[in-house]
Structure formats: structure tokens, C-alpha cells
């Protein structure tokens, strides 16, 4: 079976996010004064094949995030797994 995984990776709460700050500044300067806060992180989409069991996919993706995709020292991540057609 095939699975589509969506992963969102963000800097931890109180870690400085220079990108977010710059984007907020940019949006405010463009006139969007009501943008109160911006954080910028990473988004990934994975296709996982040949795995029959959603539990296994969950476990594997969590491991991948820990080992490679995210940097647990400064980042948090969340993900959703969804079964694919066909």
C-alpha cells in the first residue's frame, strides 16, 4: 500500500526565528498591518510505498523526523499520514 505523508517542521517556541521576523516586517510594510506574528518553517510531502500498516508508517516517519528531517535540538515537527488510492 502507498501512503502520503505531510510533515510540518517549525523552530521551537522560544527560539529566534529571523526569517519569520523578516517576513512579518515585509508583510507589515506591504500594508498588512494586522499580521501580528509570522513563523517560517519547512513543509515536506513524502510518498511511502510497500508498507501495509499505518502504524508502521507512523513509527517510521517519526523516526525519520528525529534522525534526518528535523533537527530535534531546535525544531518541532508534526505530521499526518493518509492512505493513497490505487
Amino acid at each position: 500500500m502507498k501512503w502520503k505523508v505531510r510533515i510540518e517542521i517549525m523552530l521551537k517556541e522560544n527560539i529566534l526565528d529571523p526569517q519569520g521576523k523578516a517576513v512579518k516586517g515585509g508583510l507589515n510594510a506591504l500594508g498588512y498591518k494586522n499580521v501580528a506574528d509570522v513563523h517560517v518553517g519547512k513543509y515536506m510531502e513524502l510518498i511511502i510505498a510497500d508498507t501495509d500498516n499505518q502504524e508502521d508508517v507512523n513509527k517510521q516517519v517519526d523516526e525519520m523526523c528525529q534522525r534526518l528531517l528535523a533537527n530535534p535540538v531546535i525544531e518541532d515537527y508534526t505530521f499526518q499520514v493518509e492512505k493513497m488510492e490505487g
Binding site: 526569517q19 523578516a22 517576513v23 516586517g25 515585509g26
Partner: protein, 233 residues
């Protein structure tokens, strides 16, 4: 002739370009602050230098292109003024829509700083008239987002209009993975030119490996403007 060099917050090649136009080429040059909304019509050429405007956060050039001065630059370009974007300046011109296409991160995902061999494709622009078509140049690059992308349709148009000005010599010389080894392009009218390599870094033979190929680019602009002056006058 008179040059204008724009400083955006985070520009870091602004003084380098200024050094070349002012000290090496010995032409009057003004440094202009991004936040001014000036009339640029008294300048013969406006240069957007390299660097990391706004830290290159989000995308290189994305935030800088909304600077107040960019409105003036757009008007200036529409009126036929010469605009040169180097590296980050090129990225800003793309984001601003003054040149077609977009930049992706280098295929290597790494910043790369080294001399590259370029081939002149169009020697008929105001920026390249001292080169000859097919001439090989040695000009350094320094960027992490120089992987030029344009869709097939756009590419066909670039080719049809002779808008590809310089290419990396071949796939091996291509430091970033850009489409058909594009290193620099101009607009249809030929008055707006953007390129990833840094001509200001090879305008004096004392530097680095001694190439002076970048000097000729600035000298081309000077020649063009002087000739245009003669014609008008």
C-alpha cells in the same frame, strides 16, 4: 556618465560595485538608499548589487523588490533606462517581474564561490558590446540561489528574442543547475540585464586569478552611453 548603485538592507556588494564604477572606471557614482523614492532619470545606469537583501529570508530578492525605490527603478526601466542586476540584484529583478523566470536553490544545495567560465551569447546589448559573440569569459560566482528556471514557453521566447546574454560554458561549468546553463538574461528591449556572476570581482588584474573580464562589462556600458550621447548630441 553617471552610475547609481542601490543599497538595500543586507546588500553587501554595493561598495564593491561603487569601487569599480567610481575608482576603476572613474565615473561619477552615487550610492542610493533603498528607502528613498527618487527620480532616477539623471542617471545613465542603475545597478542593483549583490548581497543578501533582507537576509535572503523567504526567497532571495522577494522582500527587497517591494522597497520604495523599486517603484522608481521600474519606471526608470520602462522609460528605457539601463538597469543592471548582479547576483542578488538579478534575483530582485526577477521577483519584481522586470525579467522573466525565477531562481531556485542550487542543485548542490550549497553556496558556491568560484571562478566560472561563461560564454557570450548576445554581444549586442548595452552591457556586452565590448565582448564578441562566443567569447569565453572567466568571472566568479558566489550564490546559493542561482538555479535559474523558466518554463519551456518562456525559454523559447528568450531564445527567439536573443535575450540569453551569457551562459555557463557547459554543464560542467554550470555551478547551480540553471536551465540550459543560463547565467544572465536581458529583457526584450535589452535595457535591463541580470546575471548571477560578479563582474565587479574581476575588474582589476591584481585580484584573485587576475581576470579582468568583468571590467569590460562596465566599460561596455560606458561606451554605449557615450555613443548614445554622441548620437543624441
Amino acid at each position: 556618465m553617471k552610475f547609481a548603485v542601490i543599497t538595500f538592507p543586507g546588500s553587501n556588494c554595493d561598495r564593491d560595485v561603487y569601487h569599480v564604477t567610481k575608482e576603476v572606471l572613474e565615473q561619477p557614482t552615487d550610492m542610493i538608499w533603498y528607502n528613498d523614492k527618487l527620480d532616477l532619470s539623471s542617471y545613465d545606469c542603475v545597478i542593483l548589487p549583490g548581497g543578501f537583501s533582507y537576509g535572503d529570508y523567504l526567497r532571495a530578492g522577494a522582500i527587497a523588490r517591494f522597497s520604495p525605490l523599486m517603484e522608481s527603478v521600474t519606471g526608470y526601466a520602462k522609460d528605457g533606462g539601463l538597469v543592471l542586476g548582479i547576483c542578488n540584484g538579478f534575483q530582485i529583478l526577477l521577483e519584481a517581474g522586470l525579467l522573466p523566470g525565477a531562481m531556485k536553490v542550487n542543485d548542490s544545495l550549497k553556496f558556491v564561490c568560484k571562478y566560472t567560465k561563461l560564454k557570450v551569447i548576445n554581444a549586442g546589448t548595452p552591457f556586452t558590446n565590448r565582448y564578441s559573440k562566443g567569447e569565453i569569459l572567466n568571472i566568479p560566482v558566489a550564490h546559493r540561489e542561482g538555479n535559474y528556471y523558466i518554463d519551456d514557453e518562456g525559454l523559447a521566447e528568450l531564445i527567439a528574442n536573443n535575450q540569453i546574454v551569457v551562459k555557463y560554458l557547459d554543464d560542467e561549468e554550470n555551478p547551480n543547475g540553471s536551465v540550459v546553463n543560463i547565467a544572465g538574461i536581458c529583457n526584450k528591449e535589452g535595457n535591463v540585464f541580470g546575471l548571477m556572476p560578479h563582474p565587479e570581482r574581476c575588474a582589476e588584474s591584481i585580484l584573485g586569478d587576475g581576470s579582468k573580464d568583468g571590467y569590460e562589462l562596465f566599460a561596455s556600458i560606458l561606451d554605449y552611453v557615450n555613443k548614445r550621447g554622441e548620437k543624441c548630441g
